[in-house]
Structure formats: C-alpha cells, structure tokens
C-alpha cells in the first residue's frame, strides 16, 4: 500500500477527534464521582451511574455484541458462502430483544438491591464463594485480553489496508484512542461513543447496501449473478453443504443468539439503564438496528461476489467494496463503521477487565476498605492497554491459543451462573463452580477432539453438560442460605 490516502484519512481523523471529545465530556461526570469515595466512584465509572436512557442503551448493547466478526469476518464469509452465510448471520437477530427481556427488570432490580457494578459483583452476592469470584475474574481478564488483542489486530489491518498507514502507526492510532477515552471517561464514555458508533454503523450500512444494489442493477440481477457463479451461493446449504449443514447453521442460534446473555460485556448493560421505560425503548431500537446492520452488512458481502469478483482475503472484502463504490472522502466516513464496531466491542471489554481487576479482585478480595478506587482504575486500564498493545504488536502463542477459546469460554463461565442465579432459588455455589469448571473444561476438550458433536457447533454440548452439572450438584448439596434468598427474592 505504501502511500497514505489523505482524503480517506481526513474524515477518519475528524471522527476520532469526536470520539475524544465524548471521552472528555464524560470525564466531567467521572471527576464529580471522584469527589465521593469508594464504591460511588465505581458506580459511575463502571456502569455510568445507572442512568442510561433507551436509545443509548440499545446502541451500546448492539454495538458491543456486534464485533469485528459481524463487520469484517462475517461479510467476508458471506462473500465465500453466499446467502447461506447471511442466513446464518440472522441467528443474531433476537439478541436485541432476547437479552434485555430475559435478564429484564429483575436483573436491574437485584443489581440495585445489592449495589452490583460488575457481573462478578452479582455472582459474589448470589453465591458467596471466593472461588467463584476468582474463576470469573480470571476468565474475564485472560479471555478478554486475548480477544481484545485479536480485535486490535483486525482494526489495525483495516486501517492499513484501506488508508495505507503502516501497521505500527495504525495500531498506535487505534490503541491510544480507545485507551484514552475509556480510561478517562469510563462506562459513560463507552456508552456515548458506542451510540455515536452505532449511528455511524447503521447509516453507513444502509448507504453501502443501497449503493451496492443500485450499482449491481437491482436484487434480481445480483441474485442471478450469484447463481451463475455457483448455484450453491443462493441456497441455504451454501457452496459446501458439508460445511454449512443444517445442524451446524442452526446451532448458531445458541452460539450468537441466545447464549449472548452469558457474555458479561452484554449482561452488564442490563444493570445500567435508568428505568423501565428505557428498557422498553431499548428493545425496540435495538431490534430494528440489529436487523439493519446484520442484513445490510452480510448481504453486502454476498453481493460483493458479483460486484467485485476475485477478492482473495476475506478481511479485505468490506474495505475493498466500500472504497470501490464511493469517492474517497465518503469511503472514509463509511469505513468508520467497521472501525466503530471494533472500538465499541473493545472498549467494553477493556472496562470490564479493569472492573475485574479493581472491583472484583482488589476491592472484593484484597482490600475492601480502599478509598482511592479511581487511581487504581486508571492505573489498571493503562497497564492493560500496554499489555494488549504489546500482544497485538507481536502475538505470543499463548494469546493466539486463548483467543480460540475466548468467546465460548466466556459464555461457558457466565451463562448458567447468571441465569440460574437469577431465576432458580436452589442454585448454589457448588453448582455454579461445577458448572464453570465442566463448561470451560468440556468446551476445550470438544474443541480439540470432537469439534462438531452431532453436526452442531462446539459450544452446544458443553453448555448442556454444564447446565446438567449445575442442576444435579445444586440438588444434592445444601441450598443457598436464608440470607441470600431474602436479599435476592425478598421485597
């Protein structure tokens, strides 16, 4: 690539400046909370003082769970496998309403009762077990660091490929921005930038798909074009029916649809909204925005096969289509969409990892009386940022290995302890521990020895096994103390 393309870069720089502005705007709230000591600071810093309205909640939720995968990897796969991959992507459609309705108001009410600011806070009060806290916090710190590094690499490659910056410059540019606004502004900055990013993604996606359909001479023309390249491109079985089999594609409903409830960065959003009206609005906005984004981006990938045949690397499909459909300055604005998708996922993960270190490990286990939570939180996020930068610059084998398990491992850790803890009075610490250990353990085993059990995605059976373990162990061991039940269920 070599030469930087200035006219693509300028809109991107303006966009980044606006992101910085939101960070500094949120700093005001954080500084105010800093005057108060201890936990109050963390309530502002980690969940924005439980004050999000419906639109911001919807945008931060959608932007967080739609990651680089949905904007770069997903369309790239749709380019290769055709409409079958768009079909697969639509299994994420329910996330907008499902997460918020299932965790729902009960989760928000309990979070207020026990003053929880992280998922681990919730699990700590519900199970009163140190080992559960340690496992959950470590799972967040390790899995998230690995997956954040992978996403930083993706973002840097995107900047490198489309703007012509060198990899190092791109990585620094991206990393410093995320780190600065997350560190100074906390959750409020993350939610506000997510909202900006969600709007940019939605408008950008709509613009790109409409342009693609017009350039391609209408939907019929494009679908005929796909059929002419390979009839499988317009079938739900794809070009390789062995690979995109019905059982495997359908099991994505578990992986990216329903089990998303178990991702801490998604679930924590369900304790950050202001009132029941915000929840209602968020479900409506969230569902519509996910529909536009999922359909738009993946159809773009599939149609891209007809518009620009012969793109070799899947990661380059979206940037290539965008830069060839639009003049450079507009491409710069639209490219902010995929970058925003990465940023909005990474910032939430960064904040949660900071929460895990400061709130879950330090405040909960080491020194509950600490006053200076603010300085500790800033230090932790700068420290994590530097680690991720080093990892992304030259990924060590351990991180590559961890990233393989990051998504499934996080779900296997958190899904059942959250859901059963919320809805089943008999769920106890022994059950939660057994479920976390069998969940992560069996997921790693299946991943290596039987990656497609019964034709389904690896995650399905481990989730069933860990659910069964949880229920059986809880039934055969003493139930939670009366104090816990009263605290969670009492009026």
């Amino acid at each position: 690539m070599g030469q930087a393309k200035v006219d693509v870069l300028i809109p991107l720089i303006l966009y980044f400046l606006f992101v910085y502005f939101l960070g500094f705007y949120s700093l005001k709230f954080v500084s105010r909370a800093r005057q108060t000591k201890g936990k109050n600071f963390l309530v502002e810093y980690l969940i924005g003082g439980r004050s999000l309205g419906g639109f911001v909640l919807a945008m931060t939720l959608v932007a967080t769970y739609l990651s680089a995968g949905s904007f770069i990897g997903g369309p790239g796969a749709a380019y290769t496998y055709g409409l079958a991959w768009v079909y697969l992507a639509m299994t994420q459609m329910p996330t907008g309403y499902f997460t918020l309705a299932v965790l729902g108001k009960k989760f928000a009410i309990i979070a207020r009762k026990i003053n929880a600011v992280t998922m681990t806070d919730f699990l700590k009060e519900r199970y009163e077990n140190k080992l559960v806290i340690i496992l959950c916090s470590l799972s967040i710190v390790f899995f998230f660091t690995a997956s954040m590094a992978a996403q930083w690499i993706g973002a840097a490659r995107l900047l490198e490929g489309s703007v012509g910056l060198s990899y190092t410059t791109a990585l620094t540019f991206f990393g410093v921005t995320v780190l600065v606004y997350t560190t100074i502004g906390g959750y409020r900055a993350v939610a506000l930038t997510d909202t900006l990013q969600g709007v940019v993604m939605t408008v950008g996606t709509a613009a790109v798909i409409i342009a693609a359909i017009i350039v391609g001479g209408g939907v019929s023309n494009l679908v005929n074009g796909l059929y002419a390249i390979h009839p499988g491109l317009i079938s739900p079985y794809g070009v390789d029916p062995q690979f995109t089999s019905a059982a495997w594609v359908t099991s994505y409903w578990i992986l990216v649809g329903f089990a998303i409830v178990g991702l801490p960065q998604v679930a924590v959003r369900a304790m950050s909204y202001r009132d029941s009206k915000s929840l209602k609005e968020a479900i409506i906005y969230g569902t519509i925005v996910s529909m536009v984004l999922l359909l738009g981006m993946h159809l773009l990938g599939a149609f891209g096969r007809v518009l620009i045949p012969g793109i070799e690397a899947g990661d380059l499909v979206v940037p290539t289509i965008i830069t060839s459909l639009f003049p450079n300055w507009a491409a710069g604005i639209i490219l902010a969409g995929p970058l925003a998708a990465v940023m909005s996922t990474v910032d939430s993960q960064l904040l949660l990892a900071v929460g895990a270190i400061v709130n879950d490990i330090y405040v909960n286990l080491i020194n509950p009386r600490i006053k200076k939570t603010a300085s500790l939180a800033f230090a932790a996020s700068v420290f994590l940022g530097i680690i991720i930068f080093i990892v992304a610059y030259n990924p060590p084998p351990l991180m590559v290995w961890l990233n393989l398990y990051a998504h499934g491992g996080t779900i296997a850790t958190f899904l059942w302890p959250i859901i059963l803890g919320l809805y089943w009075k008999k769920a106890n610490a022994q059950g939660a521990l057994a479920s976390i250990i069998t969940g992560i353990g069996s997921y790693m085993l299946f991943h290596n020895f039987w990656p497609r059990p019964l034709g389904m995605h690896t995650i399905v059976l481990p989730l069933i096994i860990s659910l069964a373990t949880f229920v059986i162990v809880s039934l055969f061991t003493p139930g939670p103390s009366k104090k816990i039940i009263e605290r969670f269920w009492g009026p």
Binding site: L83, V86, Y87, M90, T91, M93, P94, G96, Y97, F98, L100, A101, V102, L103, G104, K105, K106, A108, I109, R112, K113, G218, V219, S220, N221, L222, V223, Y227, P231, G232, I234, S235, P236, Y237, A246, T250, W253, G257, F258, D275, S276, K277, L279, K280, I283, I284, T287, I288, M291, L294, L295, Y423, K425, G479, K482, I485, E486, W489, G490, P491
Partner: protein, 103 residues
C-alpha cells in the same frame, strides 16, 4: 426435613418479580418462535435444487421469507410485546423495607 425447607423457601417475594418473570418468558417465547419461523421457511423452501427456486422481490423465496420477512415480522412482534405486555415499574430497592430490617 424437606417440608421444613419448603416453608423456609416460601418467603414473601418482591411483588414486582411476578411481572418480571412473565416478561422474561415473553422474551423466551419470542426467541423460540423466531427460531422456528427462520428454520421452517429457510429449510422448508430452500431444501430443493436452486434451479427450482421461486423468487420474491428478486430474492429466493426461502431467503426472503426467513430472513427479510422474518426480521421485519419479529421486530414488529417485539414492539407489540413490549408495548402491550411489559409494564412500567420502579426499579429502585425499597428503602423503607431496608431501614426497617436494619433497625
């Protein structure tokens, strides 16, 4: 023994939870219905050689019905469910009750 346990568990519940549980079930029902719709149209109409496909607005019918019509229908259903079956309620912890207990 087990009887005693049961009465212990039968404490007075936060009155808001009944409605909360109902709303969670609505979410679950909507999700499962969405899966069934997606699967039935997608594999129902798509399960034949592409030469025999019919088309709606240019898209193969299986794709249009499962992905496009399905997405629009379930967005509308989600709006209907939260509008008609979700109730507004305060989310705050009841301070009065807490004070009583602490005294």
């Amino acid at each position: 023994m087990s009887n005693q346990k049961n009465t212990e568990l039968e404490l007075k519940e936060d009155p808001r939870y009944k409605q909360c549980n109902r709303e969670a079930l609505w979410g679950l029902a909507l999700g499962v219905a969405n899966l069934v719709w997606w699967f039935a149209w997608g594999y129902g109409l798509g399960n034949k050689p592409p030469e025999e496909y019919t088309y709606i607005l240019g898209f193969p019918s299986w794709f249009f019905m499962s992905c496009i019509a399905g997405a629009i229908l379930f967005s509308l259903l989600a709006i209907a469910v939260v509008t008609f079956f979700f109730k507004d309620m305060p989310l705050e912890a009841d301070e009065k009750y807490r004070e009583q207990k602490e005294n």
